[in-house]
């Protein structure tokens, strides 16, 4: 997994509630397309017009936001299906960080498995960030819709230079900073797993029919 430390990049607001992972990647693409090639299908139902051409209204097709590596979203972002393809598709279009007031719980975990940083902030902060990004795209603005993320110091810096602190669980932060592989890490705890299982087999033997 690629490490995540700092990211200074274009950011785009997607201020809709309850965006689900069926929208982020439709199931038939997940069935037919290899993991590394999902990018072009991210947000497919919103991204293209019925004739297959780009929908100019789609947030990431607006010139100011094209190529954004950070998405700023609203409540319950990426709720629904457990498909990790939602993370892969967003990575495929270059996204490395999502900021939202709350996330679908499985998507939230899936991000950490792939070196993508989900940042949870109070909704007022998220709305303020989205406003600043939009203001930065207006004619005459002298800033760009960019955010600077510093995982070491747990800060988001907005276009106006305001620093907002965010919380993140230490274990997740550590893994992202170092790009750790969780399976490899857990395999080093084999003794503990074996000891726990031996105890569980004695205490609740009915759970282990085959042994």
């Amino acid at each position: 997994m690629e490490a995540f430390t700092v990211l200074d990049a274009k950011a785009a607001p997607l201020m809709r509630q309850n965006v689900n992972t069926d929208i982020i990647i439709p199931i038939h693409r997940l069935r037919d397309v290899a993991q590394a090639d999902l990018g072009p299908y991210a947000f497919e139902p919103w991204r293209y017009l019925p004739d297959g051409s780009e929908n100019p209204e789609f947030f990431l097709h607006q010139p100011a936001y094209r190529g954004a590596e950070i998405v700023v979203a609203d409540n319950n972002f990426a709720c629904g299906s457990s498909r990790e393809g939602a993370v892969w598709a967003m990575m495929g279009m270059g996204v490395r960080c999502v900021i939202a007031p709350s996330f679908g719980p499985i998507f939230f975990n899936n991000c950490f498995q792939n070196g993508v940083l989900p940042i949870q902030l109070p909704r007022a902060d998220v709305l303020a960030i989205a406003d600043e990004l939009e203001a930065a795209t207006r004619p005459g603005s002298n800033s760009e819709p960019r955010l600077s993320i510093d995982l070491h110091n747990r800060t988001v810096t907005t276009p106006s230079g305001r620093k907002i602190e965010f919380q993140i669980d230490g274990i997740r932060r550590d893994a992202l900073l170092k790009g750790l592989n969780e399976v490899a890490l857990t395999l080093t705890r084999e003794n503990e797993i074996a000891a726990h299982q031996a105890k569980a087999r004695a205490a609740t033997p009915w759970l282990y029919p085959a042994s």
């Binding site: 201020m15 809709r16 509630q17 309850n18 689900n20 069926d22 929208i23 439709p26 199931i27 038939h28 069935r31 139902p45 609203d74 409540n75 319950n76 709720c79 629904g80 299906s81 457990s82 498909r83 990790e84 393809g85 993370v87 709350s102 996330f103 679908g104 719980p105 499985i106 998507f107 975990n109 899936n110 498995q113 792939n114 669980d169 230490g170 274990i171 969780e182 399976v183 857990t186 395999l187 705890r189 084999e190 503990e192 797993i193 726990h196 299982q197 569980a200 205490a203 609740t204 033997p205 009915w206 759970l207 282990y208 029919p209 085959a210 042994s211």
Partner: protein, 470 residues
């Protein structure tokens, strides 16, 4: 010190190591696999890991298989290669796979409880968000992502943060025509699709205690549509009666020992929850969704909501977008909505009680001429039981199609789809944009309500249909 919740009791039993920050390395006592997540075994092979506990993993085919009557392995093309690979890998590792045509095959969340694989007090995971269904048996059960599946296969454990605990108390009695599906849809309408985000939800109260296991599975199934990864019901005599004698349930002395333990699995009277919600079940009427989120739900007697009626500008936008996608007009009675498709099936509502409910409405009636209606039993066993009861004849005589078990039109990845612009009443759990096929429009409802819509040709109140024919 306050007492423990049901959730805490089961969680604590599975903690291998406290990782700090509220995270634990958890032992996984049951792992389920399905054909949509078959890449897990491939990944294990590619990475050179071993499957640590094949005896604790159970697999079935459900997502990508066709449910066409008379299906064979040939009709599974073009996904046959994936299925064959999963079958080979399962055999190589010694993982029990319920194969096509065998008892046990079916939707993974139907298979677990039906086979007695899902037991009270287990910590069960599967690479599918509706794994919360199994909580209806008194287990902690939740969906995981593809990388987490690899972690489970390789280590029989998982790193997880401990969620907060919420209790939803359903008190009162269901009126005739009101089903467990209506209860949970009503709750989602009340607290929203993000109302349970960050929580493990325990469903309690007299209406849950009075409910059979199948209904509890339905209620827990939609926990994820509430934003909660976990939904659960304390196991009781209803659960034990359901489980006794199932193929993988404990037998003899072990059974007695297990039941004695399971009786301790309830929230203590003085347990404290982080959030409490109360629902008066007496007031619930049959529900139907009108939009593109399960929270877009109304009583079937209502009119389609008007975005102007909400003061929240974000909601206004979301409602208008949903109306546009669904092709509906605000203010119209929802019952005037004409339907093209009816789908009775999915891990929400494809069990015997669901099929009986729908058959009761279908018996002696005819599906409207312009409607295509499918009944897709949740498992091979349910299909056989329903046929033994003659339910297939009831459906076929009424003009429904009777299909092979699988996920089918719930997610439309298996050739079972509706066309763009078509409208379906579905007993599944997601009315998301394109869920039943790109451009398809989905209204969620109970099996009885879905059958009523098939007969009427439009969204209909099952309670009216019960008394008079139309």
């Amino acid at each position: 010190m306050p007492g423990q919740t049901l959730f805490d009791k089961i969680w604590d039993r599975h903690v291998i190591a406290d990782l700090g920050d509220g995270y634990a390395l958890l032992h996984i006592s049951r792992h389920l696999m399905h054909d949509g997540g078959g890449r897990g075994l491939q990944a294990i092979k590619d990475a050179g890991y071993r499957v640590r506990n094949p005896d604790l993993t159970f697999a079935t085919f459900d997502h990508v298989i066709s449910t066409e009557p008379g299906r064979t392995h040939e009709t599974l093309k073009p996904y046959a290669a994936r299925l064959y690979h999963m079958r080979d890998e399962a055999r190589r590792w010694g993982i029990k796979l319920f194969d096509l045509g065998q008892p046990g095959q079916g939707i993974v969340h139907v298979m677990g409880p039906e086979q007695g694989v899902t037991l009270p007090g287990t910590l069960l995971v599967c690479g599918d968000s509706h794994t919360c269904t199994h909580g209806g048996m008194g287990a902690i059960a939740f969906g995981v992502g593809a990388t987490e599946v690899i972690h489970v296969l390789a280590t029989q454990s998982l790193v997880q943060p401990k969620p907060k605990r919420m209790r939803v108390t359903f008190d009162g009695k269901r009126a005739p025509g009101v089903t467990p599906k209506d209860m949970i849809l009503h709750l989602i309408g009340q607290i929203g699709a993000a109302g349970g985000t960050g929580y493990a939800v325990e469903y309690a109260g007299s209406a849950i205690r009075d409910m059979e296991v199948e209904g509890r599975l339905t209620v827990c199934n939609l926990s994820i549509e509430l934003g909660a990864k976990i939904g659960m019901v304390a196991p009781d005599d209803v659960t034990f009666k359901f489980l006794e004698g199932r193929p993988y349930a404990p037998k003899g002395a072990l059974w007695n020992q297990a039941v004695a333990d399971w009786r301790t699995l309830a929230s203590d009277p003085d347990a404290v929850f982080d959030a409490e919600v109360r629902v008066d079940v007496n007031k619930i009427v049959p529900q139907i969704t009108w939009g593109t989120s399960p929270e877009h739900v109304i009583p079937v007697t209502d009119r389609i909501p008007d975005p102007a009626a909400t003061t929240d500008p974000d909601k206004q936008k979301a409602w208008q977008a949903a109306l546009d996608y669904m092709g509906l007009k605000a203010g119209t009675p929802i019952q005037e909505t004409r339907v093209d498709w009816v789908f009775i099936g999915s891990c929400t509502n494809s069990r015997m009680s669901d099929l009986r409910d729908a058959a009761q409405i279908a018996r002696g009636r005819k599906v409207a001429g312009h409607v295509r209606a499918w009944v897709v039993p949740g498992s091979e066993n349910i299909k056989r039981m329903a046929e033994a009861e003659g339910l297939d004849r009831v459906f076929l005589d009424a003009g429904f199609e009777w299909r092979e078990p699988g996920c089918s039109m719930c997610l439309a990845v298996n050739g079972d789809t509706i066309a763009p612009g078509e409208r379906s009443v579905s007993t599944s759990n997601r009315n998301f944009v394109g869920r039943q096929g790109p451009g398809g429009r989905t209204h969620l409802a109970s099996p009885a309500m879905a059958a009523a819509a098939a007969i009427a040709g439009h969204i209909a109140d099952v309670r009216a249909l019960d008394r008079r024919s139309i």
